[in-house]
Symmetry: C2
Subunit: 144 residues, 2 copies
DNA sequence: GGCGATATGTTATTATATTACATCGTGTCG
DNA sequence: CGACACGATGTAATATAATAACATATCGCC
């Protein structure tokens, strides 16, 4: 890594601000989604004190596709595919037991939604697709 | 009341409690989604005073499919199809200008998600599909 | 250095949702 | 009838999520 950063664990983009990098780092190290206040708690040691600092970083990160907001959880995850920040529709499968989130894309669904939009005259700015349930591990080990 | 309803505007089910009926009525009369606190404000005149009364009614209503929660809005709508409470996946198109919500189902999407779930070993309990954008009227009149 | 744009920091406030606990009504069973 | 279970209700307090308003700092650039 010769070109910007030396002491960092992870760098996904070389122009993140300190707060953005802290927030994204915390998200990336977590194996479950984190709420803004979870993030705040984890980053107090790094000097972050107020919710707004978290929300501002999250806003930039989600704008750039480096993090995603899970609407049904009011929580956030790092993008699974950090380098090639995805651009299209993304769907999430959220395990209600272990919290793990699986991120996937499905162009057939995307097309289908686009088709509906066209027919209805609806201009889509953004789509939210979230599945809640049990992941393979949790569903198998403890058949709810 | 001789077992169900005489003076009511709308009755979707004959076994709703008073609070549930009030909440569902308010939702049904609104042309845009309402938050729990919106509902509370509108129903103070009917004796509802505390958020919990609203949330409890909403919980029963959403369980039964008579109302739906819009995750991306933290708000609620009456089911568009009150009698035949839908059972499968439902998608929503939410206009960011006028607030109108269009509720639709798409079995192709449902199948596709089911296919993904099967492949991933994920057991889906519930799916959230929400489009944000401009409805036909708003997109046409003011091309954002 | 001066200036604009963006990022930060801090406090207070608003909005959304739940916990805990007391009460009431209705049915069942003895 | 009375005891009990159960579900709905009411109320207060609190937890959680998000934003408003304002002041300060930092960086690129001319």
């Amino acid at each position: 890594m010769a070109h910007s950063h030396e002491g960092h664990d992870h760098v996904w983009a070389d122009d993140l601000t300190r707060n953005q990098e802290l927030v994204l780092g915390a998200l990336a190290h977590s194996d479950a989604p984190l709420s803004a206040y979870d993030l705040l708690d984890r980053l107090r040691g790094d000097g972050l004190r107020a919710p707004l600092q978290i929300y501002r970083a999250l806003e930039k990160l989600t704008e750039r596709g480096l993090a995603h907001r899970l609407e049904s959880l009011n929580a956030f995850v790092a993008c699974a595919d950090a380098n090639c920040h995805r651009t299209g529709m993304i769907a999430f499968a959220i395990c209600e037991k272990c919290g793990k989130v699986d991120e996937f894309a499905d162009s057939a669904i995307e097309k289908r939604l686009a088709g509906w939009s066209k027919d209805a005259g609806f201009t889509t700015h953004r789509a939210t697709i979230e599945l809640r349930g049990l992941c393979a591990g949790c569903g198998a080990s403890s058949p709810a």
